[in-house]
Amino acid sequence: MSRGDESDVPARLRERLCSFRGVVLDADVFAALVGAFSDDLCEAPTDNVVYAFLLELRRLMGERFVLYSYEELQAKYAEIVRELADERVVCDDCPASPVSPTVRGLCHLFRSHKEVRVPRLLSRSGLLEQLERLYRELLRAGCTCPPEFRDFKHDFVEGRAGDEHVHVANVLVAAVKRAVLVTSDRRIKDVCDRLKPGCLCIRLDRECVRDPTQEELRLELAPELGGLPSELRYRRVAGGFAP
């Protein structure tokens, strides 16, 4: 069963991660990434633990590292870039610009990305009942959005989706696409713990997201996966994970 030296945490994490297909980044995590670039445009960041972690995630997942994004999420990303980078430091000739405009260096992460049509995803008859349940739980957890699922869907169709919509849609997209959801929101992590959707929620410690210059990133996994502790630390300098 085991190949080579698989008894350590990174190898197990890799094995688990490789059963998921793609990654969804929430806006806060994206902001932490972009923050690292705003001072030195076109330079790879050297002191951003969130960026280092995502590069490691990409390395571990190999070809399965595909970033899922949808129109509203991209708009949110673009807004963050505008706010943090103040347009002047935006790199317009990014070879892959899933978020437009984006910052060079993020291209490493965004080179392979897939667009998702949320209205289409929400209207899949076979999934409707389960998506509604997931939606209700997110609502109950305080991730505010319209109280009715049909209104939520309708807002996407009409192009009226706001920040809260994006927050909730991230979870729905990750669950349907069997993706890894990287977030800093504890409420979302708790819902994933309770409801066990098809995604893997990696919750990054909010402090680290606010200040990604730290050397160590604390993260939690939900739901708990066999053979892996529920809490891990990622050390930027050592480039590895530890329980």
């Binding site: 085991s2 080579g4 030296d5 945490v9 094995e15 059963s19 399965r64 076979g126 669950a175």
Partner: protein
């Protein structure tokens, strides 16, 4: 006869992923004897077997890959009403899912002990629910309490696990060499240093910081004596274990470390005294009729474990026998609970045996799956409580998901034989000790490849163990055809080591041209392999079953093929092998395309494909030569002319090679080049190598690197291959 969805469609990737998710989340059936498949797999088999061929895929997907909830809580949903009753054989998981799909199920168990367990699960537990569960919980708790009292002398207070290391005597200097793959006790935090005496024959261990530990004594399929540096192959170690077993003694081991709550220390005299006391107790208890006796699976006998009672060291055996005695005393008035005690003992034995490989990531033993050099021992009273609570949790989950199901259990009287694996042998052994269960109904079923299946009317749907299909290809084909059936299709599930096979009645087949058979097999290989395209890190070994899956329908469905004017029976061993070889040939081509490398020499192709499918396997049993035969045949290679392929099926890396000629063999040239790179003479790595071989060597280096990336492996050979490629690019640039 109406076709079924499974005849033409089985979402391999989706089911493989869902099975992995179920295991990751801790499936309740994982600790229950007789529940052989993950419920996600069982549900897919049942759903797609019961659905007609015109069923919409979109409508089936939510049950196959639910968006929320644990996989085992997902229900199949509304299905047609026909058939009302199905017959399930061997697998409790398939029975449960068929019953949850609203069918009356007759569950056929080939073993009376397992049948008795199924009766308890589908009878008392599901009928009485919480009431039965409470009674069972009370019983298991009481046994646990008595065990804690009675076994307190065998273990220290806060001890959590013991690390044992098997040993073998050095034929040169007589040292009892600890057989260690690594030095870790807890990965990243503490390790072992081995103190080798100048005289005497036993080493001593010291718990040290990670940076102070040296390498293990096992490397690249060889053991090296830390005193005299004598080195020899693991096959010889295996034979010495076998010889020792023949003389009546199991393999010896060192007690190297003790993990306590919050700390790790070396073994002390009181620890060894307790082990000695346990030895006395085991000797005493071993004379009783309670000793578990049962043949283990064949792979264990190869290591000299000829009975399941040999799977334990003295203390493990003494404590487990004590648990049997206590169970019998406590359970005098609750006989039904003894079946559950046998289930607890089975799971406990898997986690607390000389096969329970030490897991340095968590600092305790893992579940026995294969041979282990370093094994862990658990204090039985604590482990009893832990396993009991897991089994009770599994029962609670079953009660919740299986409300109102109807399953009638019967013992087999013929029909399909069912594979017997280590958990089956252990459960049978403990049932024998606790319940006096009768022996298996039919001899020789241990070798069957069938994990389970279901049938009704003229249709059968089997779940086969793919490694056994590979090793008993002709027998599997013969058994299906002998029953007047043929495989409508065959679907591998990656990472699960199974092949799902829907069977239909055979009609009178027409003669078919050989070219058509070849083309059908090749197409099927490509189709099935599509599901493996984005396989990363896991499951590559199970891709090796694709040629069998592709060849099974024609080999069971046809009788005669026309080839070059001759009519040949397809079931002649030669023809069957040739059909399979066609599948392997296509798989090799497709896999090398996937790696995007252009190796053309069959020896290099063999090397590249082996590395992708079986990696470097230093710690595991390599694929047997029997399993490699079809691949070698497909590439028209004679194994005796491949000096890097050892008798036990291990493929040597550059480190084990002694003789590297002729250099016309690209694998020899590749290894020689890697050695030159390692010795700091990369410029000369490919000097004197003919141009055509040089090209093969570089492509092989690329193949090895890409295969390792896909498998998530890290081996020195891969790093050297990278450096070799780097050097060659530099030389070309100049």
């Amino acid at each position: 006869m109406t076709g079924h969805k499974i005849d033409s469609w089985f979402p391999i990737t989706l089911v493989s992923d869902e099975c992995e998710r179920e295991r990751g989340l801790g499936s309740p059936v994982g600790v229950l004897p007789g529940f052989r498949s993950p419920l996600a797999l069982a549900r897919a088999v049942v759903l797609l077997s019961l659905s007609t061929e015109d069923a919409e895929r979109e409508a089936l997907l939510p049950a196959l890959q639910p968006v929320i909830g644990e996989p085992w809580r997902t229900s199949i949903g509304a299905l047609g009403e026909e058939p009302e009753e199905v017959r399930v054989f061997g697998d409790g998981s398939v029975a449960l899912e068929a019953a949850r799909a609203g069918r009356r199920v007759r569950l056929v168990a080939p073993d009376p002990a397992i049948a008795r367990f199924f009766e308890e699960v589908f009878g008392r537990l599901l009928e009485e629910g919480e009431e039965a569960l409470e009674e069972l919980a009370g019983f298991l708790r009481q046994v646990g309490r008595v065990l804690r009292r009675r076994l307190s002398d065998l273990y220290g207070g806060g001890e959590r696990a013991y690390l044992w290391i098997k040993r073998v005597r050095c034929p040169q200097c007589g040292l009892l060499i600890p057989l260690m793959e690594h030095r870790w006790i807890v990965k990243g935090s503490c390790a072992l240093r081995v103190e080798v005496p100048e005289g005497g024959d036993e080493v001593e261990f010291e718990v040290v910081e990670p940076e102070e530990a040296g390498p293990g004594t096992l490397r690249a399929g060889r053991v090296t004596c830390p005193r005299c540096r004598e080195s020899w192959g693991l096959e010889r170690v295996r034979r010495s274990f076998l010889l020792r077993a023949a003389r009546g003694g199991p393999a010896g081991a060192y007690l190297a470390a003790v993990v306590e709550d919050g700390s790790v220390r070396s073994a002390t005299d009181p620890d060894l005294d307790r082990v000695e006391r346990a030895r006395e107790l085991a000797r005493e208890l071993g004379r009783s009729r309670l000793l578990p006796c049962e043949d283990p699976p064949g792979w264990l006998r190869r290591w000299g474990v000829w009975d399941v009672s040999w799977m334990f060291n003295s203390r493990q055996l003494a404590a487990l026998l004590e648990a049997v005695t206590v169970t019998l005393n406590v359970g005098e008035s609750l006989e039904w609970c003894r079946v559950w005690a046998a289930a607890v003992l089975t799971e406990l034995s898997l986690r607390n045996s000389v096969l329970s490989r030490w897991d340095p990531a968590v600092g305790e033993p893992g579940r026995a799956e294969g041979w282990a050099w370093e094994y862990g021992e658990l204090p039985v009273p604590r482990a009893w409580e832990k396993v009991s609570s897991e089994i009770l949790r599994a029962c609670r989950e079953l009660i919740e998901v299986a409300e109102g199901v109807e399953v009638e259990v019967e013992v087999a009287d013929g029909g399909w034989g069912v594979a017997r694996d280590l958990p089956d042998a252990l459960f049978r052994a403990w049932s024998g000790a606790l319940l006096n269960a009768p022996v298996w109904g039919t001899e020789g079923r241990g070798g069957s490849s069938i994990l389970g299946g279901l049938s009704w009317g003229g249709r059968s749907f089997l779940v086969l163990r793919s490694d056994r299909v590979a090793e008993r290809w002709m027998e599997v084909v013969g058994e299906i055809v002998g029953r007047g059936l043929r495989a409508a299709s065959a679907w591998p599930v990656f990472g699960e080591n199974v092949l799902v096979v829907p069977l239909v009645e055979r009609e009178s087949p027409e003669e078919v041209d050989w070219e058509d058979v070849v083309s059908e097999v090749r197409d099927a290989v490509r189709r099935l392999l599509d599901a493996a395209r984005d396989l990363e890190g896991r499951g590559w070994e199970s891709v090796g079953v694709v040629p069998y899956a592709a060849a099974l329908p024609p080999c069971t469905g046809l009788d005669v093929v026309k080839r070059g004017g001759d009519s040949l029976s397809i079931r002649q061993p030669e023809v069957l092998s040739e059909v399979l070889a066609e599948g392997w040939r296509e798989l090799v081509t497709a896999v090398l395309e996937l790696l995007n490398v252009g190796v053309s020499d069959p020896r290099a192709r063999f090397y590249a494909v082996y590395r992708l499918l079986w990696g470097y396997r230093e710690s595991c049993d390599p694929p047997s030569r029997r399993r490699l035969e079809p691949l070698l045949r497909a590439l028209k290679l004679d194994p005796d002319e491949l000096p890097y392929l050892s008798a036990d099926g291990r493929l040597e890396s550059y480190r084990e090679r002694r003789e590297l000629r002729p250099r016309e063999d690209p694998v020899n040239a590749f290894h020689a080049a890697l050695l030159a790179v390692r010795e700091g003479a990369p410029e000369s790595a490919l000097e004197g190598v003919p141009e055509n071989v040089r090209k093969e060597v570089l492509e092989l280096a690329r193949a090895v690197i890409r295969a390792a990336r896909r498998c998530g492996e890290n081996h020195p050979e891969v790093e050297l291959a990278r450096r070799l490629l780097g050097v060659s690019v530099g030389v070309a640039g100049r």
